[in-house]
Symmetry: C2
Subunit: 122 residues, 2 copies
């Protein structure tokens, strides 16, 4: 059980120090342990949570929903079904977003190719 300094946790998770403190303050991240002098010491478990938050954030989940998920997890094992449902619903929305993104990307490419006719005519 090593335990990571804030800067190390930031480096590993890709979140800024301020964001880590913010996530803890709003109760997204569980209270992080402290050293004798009051400095945060992140555990591997904390880091795993951060990896999940990064996944959820990158896929566009709002923070309020991440909080909901974290609360369910803290509530105990009997919430696994609800937690899974939450993730599954989110995954569905992500699929939709991916389809839209692909569609608009195709439009964009068409537009770029269209320019080819004018930038280098014929």
């Amino acid at each position: 059980m090593p335990g990571y300094a804030p800067s190390e946790a930031a480096r590993r998770s890709g979140f800024s120090l301020d964001t880590l403190r913010y996530y803890e303050k709003i109760g997204l991240l569980n209270e992080v342990g402290r050293s004798s002098s009051g400095r945060r010491v992140f555990t591997d478990d904390d880091l795993e949570w951060l990896v999940l938050f990064r996944c959820l954030r990158d896929t566009g989940m709002p923070i309020a929903e991440m909080c909901r998920y974290a609360e369910l997890a803290r509530a105990g094992e009997h919430t696994v079904g609800e937690r899974q449902a939450l993730l599954a619903q989110h995954a569905g929305r992500v699929e939709e977003r991916m389809r839209l993104l692909q569609r608009q990307y195709d439009h964009l490419q068409a537009k770029i190719r269209f320019y080819d006719q004018h930038v280098r005519p014929r």
Copy 2:
């Protein structure tokens, strides 16, 4: 040349009336024509611009960059190269985002499948 009422333009573009006015106010959308009584009348050309803005917005382009593109277009034909380059650069960033999104989506699916072991054990 029909010309569309604001509500019709909103319906066709998927932007709200407020957003249409906002886009015009900040100079993203060119000054829209007016009826004798001062009401906006959107042309097909306006609508085409809105379709493009929707594409760019859905793919995550910041408004400032869309403004830049619109300015280039207003500046004349000699900017086609720069315009194309701007779109191409954006497309590159979109590809990157799509890859990240796919990667994180896969993580998410793995997490959901992992729950299966616990929700319906063995």
